[in-house]
């Protein structure tokens, strides 16, 4: 039975001051700094594409390369290995990847272990009930013929290898905690301290971070850019509309018989169709053929917009429940789960994108919100933005210019700008619900963005008033063999966060139950808990088991804040 109370998480902002905490205005003395040519924050798809392309250009221009000093390109990555914190579906348009590595064929991609086959067939289903599935004609955005199924985690490992071979320094287990800003210009980033205790005190093996100064800085932090957020505020880069977010929970399964098609489902089951729940989401099921082991794998995930209003909405449980649908059982039964992970993604599209350049730095990839949520594609935009960023930086280095402004124009004119512009108004209507918003969204897609005119607005995810509803009633009880609970899932993500590391999650610790329950259900890793003896109504305490955190970022959309963890912590994804 739904309760009366409705509370918006935005009313309980987390105790964090991004500009104060994430921006450092006085640099350390010169001999204590580490000077590099170009600093790239984030060793994911976009950051490494930037490194790859830049080093390709510098290979042919030793003079400019030399001017960058001993460390021409440094990639700063907080996971234990590049790809460790990367997760996506993913069905990828091949163009930008072919452009980045003209020496590789698609067969080569598969041999290198990051690609798993070309899409031959696709199918889209509606799931009106837990037992039925209706195939519908594939909407234009979901046509995937010729695209490649890729693991962004595995791709990042390959990209990092190439970057290193070409002279990049890949600094893994290193978090970038602050943006260095001096005289209104980004001068680099500061790396995080290591060896602090729970209360932030210095432990016996404490090692302070260092100021890494660079001619140009690339912010490729992906979803939840800590420094990106601070930079946007500092330099006034906000886009016309606020950013909104979606959360995806994914599993990879080894299966007895190969899947022959790419599948997307659009609900409604197990989501609720009535607009008061605010449910917008769907699933993917992609076949993967591992060329190296010969194994047949399947990538399956559930994505839900974080705009929902029912506090008991849990993407992890929705995925587990969805797996019990006969459509899925046919595919997974007899198989073995080999991976699990979760990650948030920016869903605002064109109007939510920030301005991409600031003095001394630029934004690439998901940090800049370059995801097309109609076609569910962002990876190829990440790669393309990395290529364009590298070219802009190279030009600036070569001509001795200080400015990267032409990057913005290059992105607008490229496939990124074109594709995102076309769907710029297609998702906003769904904030009113699938039924109310569906038609307008459909019109936007069918007219390829000519209609509706102007700019449709987004409201922020954390402004949605939450209520404790009954979405949870549909969830299955995990059996530990086919469906799984959160803790055992966190376990296989390779999560090894130091027990006495400082808490990197900021939330208010005493909030209305509606807000607390939102966090408890939402978090795929079971970080938040409400004490058993907490009152049923009114405010409750929130326990934060931050060592479970897989750094998906969802909390930042719904009233909390994920801040920079100690480098090396978090999951170690390999095939997500």
């Amino acid at each position: 039975m739904a309760r009366r109370n409705k509370v918006a998480p935005a009313a309980y902002p987390p105790p964090v001051d991004p500009q104060k905490e994430f921006i450092k205005r006085e640099l350390d003395p010169e001999d204590e700094r580490i000077d590099v040519g170009v600093a790239i924050v984030g060793g994911g798809t976009a950051g490494l594409a930037t490194a790859n392309r830049l080093l390709q250009l510098l290979q042919d221009d030793p003079e400019t390369m030399e001017r960058l000093g001993e460390v021409p390109v440094a990639v700063i990555e907080k996971a234990k290995a590049c790809g460790g914190h990367n997760l996506s579906g993913a069905v990828v348009r091949p163009g930008p990847l072919q452009e980045l590595y003209p020496d590789l064929t698609r067969e080569d991609w598969r041999k290198e272990g990051f690609a798993f086959g070309e899409v031959k067939k696709d199918a889209v289903y509606l799931t009106p009930t837990s037992k039925t599935a209706i195939r519908i004609p594939t909407p234009p955005g979901f046509r995937n013929h010729g695209n490649e199924i890729i693991s962004v985690s595995a791709l990042a490992r390959y990209q990092a290898q190439r970057a290193e071979e070409n002279g990049a320094y890949i600094l893994t287990e290193t978090a970038a905690t602050q943006l260095l800003v001096e005289d209104g210009r980004v001068k680099g980033v500061r790396s995080g301290d290591k060896g602090r205790g729970k209360e932030g005190e210095e432990l016996s093996n404490f090692e302070p971070g260092a100021d890494i100064t660079a001619k140009f800085t690339v912010l490729a932090e992906g979803c939840w850019g800590h420094l990106t957020g601070a930079a946007i505020r500092e330099f006034g880069l906000q886009g016309p509309e606020p950013q909104v977010w979606e959360l995806g929970v994914k599993e990879v399964w080894k299966v007895p018989k190969p899947l022959d098609r790419v599948i997307h489902t659009m609900g409604p089951w197990p989501l609720k169709i009535r607009s008061k729940y605010g449910h917008v989401g769907g699933t993917w099921i992609y076949p993967m053929k591992d060329e190296n082991t010969g194994e047949d794998l399947v990538s399956i995930g559930f994505v839900v917009e974080l705009d929902y209003a029912d506090a008991t909405t849990s993407a992890h449980d929705l995925l587990q429940t969805f797996k019990t649908h006969p459509l899925v059982r046919k595919i997974l039964e007899g198989g073995e789960r080999i991976a699990w992970g979760a990650k948030a993604l920016p869903g605002g599209g064109y109007w939510s994108m920030p301005k991409l350049t600031m003095p001394g730095a630029l934004l690439v990839g998901d940090a800049a919100g370059m995801v097309d949520t109609i076609a569910l594609k962002g990876v190829h935009h990440c790669i393309k933005s990395g290529i364009l960023a590298a070219e802009a930086i190279y030009q600036a280095l070569k001509t001795g210019s200080d400015s990267l402004e032409h990057y913005e124009e290059a992105v607008e004119k490229s496939s990124i700008g074109k594709e995102l512009y076309e769907v710029r108004n297609a998702r906003q209507p769904l904030q009113k619900g699938l039924i109310k918003g569906g038609p307008l969204s459909g019109i936007a897609q069918v007219t390829k963005g000519k209609l509706p005119p102007g700019r449709l607005s987004w409201h922020r995810n954390d402004h949605v008033p939450m209520f404790i509803g009954d979405t949870k009633d549909v969830y299955v009880q995990p059996d530990g063999k086919y469906t799984f609970d959160k803790l055992s899932s966190v376990f296989i993500s390779g999560n090894a966060t130091r027990d006495d590391a400082p808490n990197h999650i900021r939330v208010q610790k005493n909030v209305p139950r509606e807000v607390a329950e939102t966090w408890v259900w939402m978090c795929p890793a079971g970080v938040y808990e409400i004490p058993e003896d907490a009152p049923e109504e009114g405010n409750v305490d929130v326990i934060v088991n931050y060592t479970n955190c897989v750094q998906c970022g969802a909390i930042t959309a719904k009233g909390g804040r994920l801040t920079t963890p100690e480098g090396g912590d978090g999951p170690l994804y390999q095939i997500t």
Partner: protein
């Protein structure tokens, strides 16, 4: 040669029980390949009677070597000489620090294959093979030897079986290698006060969230005290995080890994992060009021009930049984 050499660790007039287990196991396996188990003891002033007593555990002959105790180097010299002079093909060691050290040195000296953490020994086509768990105990791997094999057991893997009679003792003199002369024992087997090391406790009483509050640990401490001096109290990560118990007592993925004779889990759900730290315990007893707690899936004895009622009564009953 179908006789098997087995090392028996001596300390202060007795043989370590892991060694006795190894002797019994060696006797069993030797029997299967048509041979005998011969024991080797190395130490200072070991009486013939004491050495002969290994016959009660299955040894048919005992070699006695006078040399410094508690150190690997002299024992490696001793066992290697006997192994080579006697033309043995297999040697078995009980688990434990010295078993590992001496076994490894022996394997290198006589050019044998070595398997450690062995939980089972068998015979295949007249040859001895050893089994050991791998991958966090999720699979068993079998070791096959090209020629000579040294088998070192996991701690407490083999049980000592009595039966047989005192064996003939042969004193062997061994010239010690130069490296044996480089090491001297200053003090051996020091027990470190009241703080029992969780990893070597025979019995562990562990508490989790189900205790309700930090004070709940008193129930665990009382029960551990009732079990005696070789029992320790441990905790899950959740309660250590909450400050109810110190980190040194934490068991689990990021805490300590233990395998005591008895692991009694009170108010612990049994999530995998905890399970991996204690799943090899010989006997697992769980008390939890939630019948669906995952711990009941792998506990040997599960009690669904209120630990606040059960623990105090159990403590009294244990005290009574031990005191009486």
């Amino acid at each position: 040669m179908s006789n098997i050499l087995v090392y028996a660790l001596h300390h202060e007039g007795a043989f370590n029980k892991n060694s006795l287990g190894a002797v019994s196991e060696a006797a069993r396996v030797a029997g299967e390949i048509g041979g005998e188990a011969h024991a080797v003891v190395v130490g200072e002033g070991i009486s013939d009677d004491l050495a002969a007593s290994l016959g009660n555990y299955g040894a048919k002959k005992v070699f006695k070597v006078e040399a410094p105790e508690g150190l690997a180097a002299p024992a490696i010299d001793a066992v290697s000489k006997i192994f080579q002079d006697g033309g043995y093909q297999y040697a078995i060691f009980g688990g434990g620090l010295l078993g590992f050290e001496i076994g490894a040195g022996l394997a290198a000296r006589v050019n044998a294959g070595i398997t450690l953490e062995v939980t089972g020994v068998g015979v295949e086509n007249g040859k001895v093979v050893a089994e050991r768990p791998i991958l966090g105990d999720s699979a068993i791997s079998t070791s096959r030897y090209k020629d000579k094999g040294v088998i070192v057991a996991r701690l407490n893997a083999f049980e000592a079986k009595e039966g047989g009679s005192p064996a003939p003792v042969e004193t062997v003199s061994v010239e010690l290698s130069p490296q044996a002369g480089q090491v001297t024992m200053v003090s051996r087997g020091e027990q470190r006060g009241a703080d029992i090391d969780i990893e070597s406790a025979d019995i562990i009483v562990a508490g989790g969230r189900g205790l309700g509050k930090a004070e709940g640990f008193k129930l665990c401490e009382d029960l551990a005290a009732a079990f005696g001096s070789n029992a320790a109290v441990a905790a899950t990560r959740a309660v250590v995080d909450a400050g109810w118990y110190p980190y040194a007592a934490q068991i689990g993925q990021t805490g300590k890994t233990v395998a005591p004779k008895l692991y009694l889990a009170a108010g612990i759900s049994g999530a995998i992060q905890h399970k991996v730290g204690m799943q090899n315990s010989e006997n697992i007893v769980a008390i939890n009021k939630d019948a669906n707690a995952p711990i009941f899936e792998f506990a040997d004895l599960g009690i669904v009930g209120d630990l606040n009622k059960i623990l105090p009564k159990l403590t009294e009953a244990v005290k009574a049984r031990k005191g009486g």
